[in-house]
Amino acid sequence: MITIHRLTKFYGKVKALDGVSLELNNPDPLVILGPSGSGKTTLLRLIAGLESPDEGEIYINGVLASKPGWVLLPHQRHIGFVFQSSALWPHMTVAQNILFGLNGLTKNEARVRLQGLLDMTHLKGLEQRYPDELSGGEARRVAIARCLAPKPKYLLMDEPLINLDPDLKEKVLSLIEETTRQTQAFLVYVTHDAEEATKLSGRILNLRSGRLVI
């Protein structure tokens, strides 16, 4: 369970988040809907531990993870993050990108995990390709597979369908639903697109000017 308590974040004089409180414990995905500049990405970055709050705290499974001036480092939180861009490392193959986050596995275990993820994300045959040899949809699927590889308990997705064709959006959205169901990870999905939000069967929260609107 992730508990967010009165989270506030400033960028200069601008209040990006204003006392947001939330509990993420429902098995259904949580969709955060809001226009540009409403604080959606900031909220995800704070949950991920990429930034520290100016006020408030974040607890992960009851353990303090963020407070003003202190954060538990991102890789210690067991959270997966899919960025707006696919953010694939261009000097690594698809397989290397996916396996990057795995630590302490034998070669055989890593190979089995890779095959499972390639199957799940329909990427079989592409494992030796480099990111610049992939289509936009394939790159998003690799980003999702990479995010799932360390078996995170929570998945944060920041507008993962942005810049994709409508057809591709449908496919990637189904993949996201399918993979989160299979992995039983808790999904926090951020979008500015109301239609996209309603397609994901989950709880929808509106964020406006840094505040949650019920």
Partner: protein, 527 residues
């Protein structure tokens, strides 16, 4: 972003004439010598015996300086990378300013500092630090050249997309991500920085000769002094040229991309990386060396000068050299701008032709300075050109040949920062090309022009390798005077002159950074 076509073509022609004419003159002279029956001279191209030893020694020295420079560059740049807001944003680039301080100034400061340390060691019964030969040459070249790898590594780190780093941070530790993601992505430019340092170290003879270390780059100069035959000097420099052109060709792809890629800013509020203790210790050592690189010259020279009167006395005694230096540096800085701009406008595109233009513009950087001087003598030392040969034109031509390509690269960086839409918008309203150029292009380019001018001024005022060969009789630059003094040890006078050189270099550098950062706002009347 173009100069009017006819002016650009003319400026380009002059650029190539100035930059390549010394080398072409040497090639033509060589062909003449071969036809005159001196084909046995060709053996000079292959270093054997003592010359082979010198060649290997020079490679080892340059390799050592390049590798240590890259390591120090990585440690320094990673530290400075996080300083992205407020005064830190200015401070981190200020480290790079010392690149315009001539190496012999570092030499004088460190020789004085080590001499002081050795006195203390002697008094306490410890052995001296052997600061002659390899150690001194390596150390001074490292101190003088380290701003290059730091700067290029910093540019490389800034070019890594922030989301690639943050994606890695979600699953692995920062130190793991540094070695697996950040450094591999920054590698081309880090290696280019190392290559550039190698090139500069390999072609420099002034610092090794101060520390009584013979290196191969002195061979062409020595050959010319002994035989007065430009062809022999050129042939003996061929191995040097081959290596430097090879290194430059290997590095130029990365350099080209660095000038073309916009830098990407990590979000200023992103949590800073957490490094393990061993890395922090290593970084601390690196930063300590960088601080020494900045403060030792300032501190030691100030102590040696002693009083303000001594400083004034040094300036007065070198009045004619200072005036001569300022005069030729100002002329060089002004002349290299239109030619640099013409060359930069050929580099700005992203097609295959650009690669050839890049090679043409950057190859002159690989030509050792003495060869440029010897080439110029070959062209101008003729009875009907006597007036020009013995004039102030020669050091100006030498500096133009050496530094116009660098001005072109600085101007290219500015050209790349300009949104092409601004130019398209200007085209909608202005039909006359010259009016568009004067009212739109020039003000937008002004920061780059000013920065390139300041950098050319500083580099020209510190130039030694070519000026030493072509300076007119009875005239000397400040650098030449300091260099001559240096062989007799440090004194208040020479320390005062060196401090003056640092001030000139730093003021030029600060102005260059300020105009680039403040941009067109410094020129409100023009815009």
């Amino acid at each position: 972003m173009k100069l009017p076509t006819s002016i650009r073509a003319f400026a380009l022609l002059i650029f190539f004439l100035l930059v390549f004419s010394p080398l072409l003159a040497l090639v033509v002279n060589l062909i003449g010598s071969l036809f005159a029956g001196h084909s046995d001279w060709l053996g000079l191209m292959i270093p054997t015996g003592r010359r082979f030893d010198l060649f290997i020694r020079s490679m080892a020295l340059a390799g050592g300086v390049a590798i240590s420079g890259m390591i120090l560059g990585i440690l320094g740049a990673i530290f400075l990378w996080r300083w992205r807001t407020g005064i830190g944003a200015y401070l981190r680039w200020s480290v790079l300013l010392l690149i315009v301080v001539p190496p012999y100034v570092h030499a004088l400061a460190w020789i004085s500092a080590i001499s002081g340390i050795n006195s203390l060691l002697n008094a306490t019964g410890f052995p001296n630090i052997p600061f002659q030969g390899w150690l001194g040459s390596w150390w001074i070249q490292l101190m003088a050249l380290v701003p290059i790898p730091i700067g290029l590594t910093l540019i490389a780190l800034e070019s890594v997309a922030p989301d690639l780093i943050e994606a890695a941070r979600m699953t692995r530790s920062d130190i793991h991500n540094l070695f697996k993601v950040i450094l591999p992505l920054a590698k081309p430019l880090i290696l280019a920085g190392g290559g550039f340092v190698f090139l500069l170290s390999f072609t420099d003879y002034s610092i090794p000769s101060l520390f009584h270390l013979n290196v191969y780059s002195l061979e062409s100069f020595a050959e010319f002094s002994a035989s007065s035959e430009p062809s022999r000097a050129f042939l003996s420099a061929v191995p040097l040229l081959l290596i430097t052109i090879l290194v430059l060709s290997a590095s130029q792809g990365a350099l080209r991309n660095a000038a073309l890629k916009p830098t990407k800013q990590i979000h200023p509020r992103t949590i800073s990386p957490v490094w393990p203790a061993w890395f922090v210790t290593l970084q601390g050592l690196g930063i300590g060396l960088l601080i020494a690189q900045i403060f030792i010259p300032l501190f030691v020279l100030t102590i040696t000068v002693g009083t303000w009167d001594n400083m004034v006395g040094a300036a007065t005694s070198a009045r004619s050299e200072i005036l001569f230096t300022v005069w030729i540096s100002v002329i060089t800085a002004m002349l290299c701008l239109p030619m640099g701009l013409a060359a930069a406008s050929k580099l700005v595109k992203r097609d295959n032709d650009t690669k050839i233009w890049w090679l043409l513009v950057t190859i002159p950087l690989a030509i050792p300075a003495p060869l440029i001087g010897i080439g110029l003598i070959t062209i101008w030392n003729r009875p009907f050109l006597g007036a020009a040969y013995g004039s102030n034109l020669m050091p100006i031509l030498a500096s133009l040949a050496r530094f116009t390509p660098l001005a072109a690269i600085v101007l290219l960086a500015q050209l790349r920062r300009i949104d092409p839409l601004l130019i398209d918008a200007a085209r909608v309203f202005h039909t006359r090309q010259s009016k568009t150029w004067m009212q739109i292009h020039l003000p937008i380019l002004a920061p780059g022009i000013m920065a390139a001018g300041f950098i050319a001024f500083a580099l020209c005022s510190g130039e030694l390798g070519a000026t030493l060969i072509v300076a007119p009789p009875g005239q000397a630059t400040l650098t030449m005077r300091i260099y001559n003094y240096l062989h007799y040890g440090a004194s208040e006078t020479v320390a005062g002159l060196c401090l003056m050189m640092i001030l000139v270099a730093l003021i030029s550098g600060v102005l260059a950074v300020a105009v680039v950062r403040r941009g067109w706002r410094l020129f409100p009347k023009w815009v």
